[in-house]
């Protein structure tokens, strides 16, 4: 097998392993999916407290926020928790002593996260559509798909940075990734426009890729703006991904080096 073929084979092994794990923890996965569906419906139902004229638009506004947050948080969480999961199983030393580039291993984790995130988001979307009978005739799905693809990269980059934390601290690293996720949720305008945020925190919205993703997705689905109109935002997201992915990878490799120096790859530290 050629070196490139070996790397691709290894990448697929990581993706397949994760889908095997989903199958083994199917009960939990179904519970989480059920919770996500209910959570999305609950959030969208807030719109029914508004006058009928604003209702439909608000349902879609909130649903987009819930769906995108669901997708992006799966992406971020799967990537960020890959290290803590392997540490918990005790397999991390075996995965990390394999003769593959770290990028291959992480790309496998990311590819699984994207596939799994899309799958779950589709299920939730179907459930929401059936529940509310919402009309999305104006939506530009090509534009929305383009935005979703563009936003994956920066979130993978953020996930890689988050994955570093369990390498640095065996005890508190995984919890710290939840803090990052919480801050992104607060500042990115998932369920409200960022203009409602207090001034001292609003600047953080401009740093979050989720802010641009949501703005573009809402413009595509609510206003029917097509790929051409959304191109500047897509390019912005793509460029932020081009910065965040190599940055995340570099930070990850530095952290791995640190862990190898300090002996923290091992489960017990």
């Amino acid at each position: 097998m050629s070196p490139a073929g070996r790397e691709l084979h290894a990448l697929w092994s990581v993706v397949r392993r994760n889908f095997h794990l989903v199958r083994r923890y199917l009960g939990w996965e179904l519970v989480f999916l059920f919770y996500n569906v209910i959570n999305t419906l609950t959030i969208a139902l807030i719109a029914f407290a508004l006058p009928p004229a604003d209702r439909d638009r608000t349902i879609i506004y909130l649903t987009i926020g819930a769906l995108l947050w669901n997708f992006l948080s799966i992406l971020f969480q799967e990537v960020a928790s890959s290290v803590s999961w392997e540490r918990w199983e005790g397999t991390i030393e075996y995965s990390f002593m394999a003769p593959i580039h770290r990028l291959t291993y992480l790309a496998g984790v990311c590819m699984y996260a994207v596939l799994y995130g899309v799958l779950r988001t589709i299920v939730i979307l179907v459930a929401v559509a059936l529940f509310f009978h919402i009309h999305l005739a104006r939506a530009d799905w090509l534009g929305a798909a383009m935005i979703l693809a563009g936003s994956s990269l920066p979130f993978i980059g953020l996930g890689l940075i988050g994955a570093v934390l369990p390498l640095l601290s065996t005890e508190r690293g995984a919890q710290a990734t939840q803090v990052i996720q919480g801050v992104i949720l607060l500042v990115s305008g998932i369920y409200y426009p960022i203009s409602v945020l207090p001034g001292w925190i609003r600047w953080m919205s401009h740093l979050s890729p989720a802010t641009y993703t949501l703005e573009a997705a809402r413009r595509a689905i609510l206003n029917g703006e097509g790929p051409l109109h959304l191109l500047p935002l897509t390019i912005k997201l793509f460029l932020s991904g081009l910065i965040l992915v190599p940055l995340g990878l570099a930070v990850f490799q530095l952290a791995e080096h640190w862990a190898m120096r300090n002996g923290t790859l091992k489960r017990s530290g």
Partner: protein
Amino acid sequence: MDEGSVSPKAVAVEGQGLWKEFSTKKWVGAKRQVTRSYALKGVDLAVQRREILGILGPNGSGKSTLIRLMATLLIPDQGWLKVFGLDVIRDRQRVRRLINRVSVEASFFKKLTARENLAYAAGLYGVSNAKAQVEATRILASLGLQRDKLEVPLETLSRGQQQKIAIARALLTSPTLMLLDEPTTGLDPTSRRDVQEFVLNVRREHDSTMVLCTHDMAEAERLCDRIAIIHEGRIIAVGTPADLIASYASGGGLEDAFFHITGLDQERLRAEAEGDG
């Protein structure tokens, strides 16, 4: 030279002046307390090709640290270490292609079946799933493990069965250097015997060098060409089992030689070894 092949003249493992220190940090009230301990203190070692080198030492003597350095999982603070002439830091990727490891904990995804775990592990080394499954079935049959055990989640298997699957996982990648870190600790006598026989078979049939950490003196005497005794981070004696016995325990066994060399209390060490099991 192909990245998976090795120079025929290269020593399998060669290291000099290896030091490794670990620190643990904890908060005591408002003060951060750092405790430092040396796992290795200037270790020199050489393992010849096709040799089985045993590393004997009490708990905390530095055995696993040494194995982890060879496995490219740790970076030494000082000194250098080469595997078949390749530096474990600079040539890490090429070293990884030559080695595999069986550790004292069988370290698997516990909910996955043995087949799924082996497919993952083999995939990381570029071994096709079909080839891995055939080879794993063959290896496990020779270790006395029934075929149906491959189809159930690892968590339902005994420790001995899991350890046999760990050995199959390591061998699937045809490593030139096998690192065996207490592979038989906690196994029942039959499983222990199966694993030991298998190690000897592998050595007979393959171009494989092995480094074996163990607490079990009989195992070390049976399997190893030479034994290095490590104590408090230093290798304090190296030789064939017969040489060590002749030099340090004339009329006795390897265990007597070990206690003589380390100056340790026999009863305490036995209790520790039983505790591990």
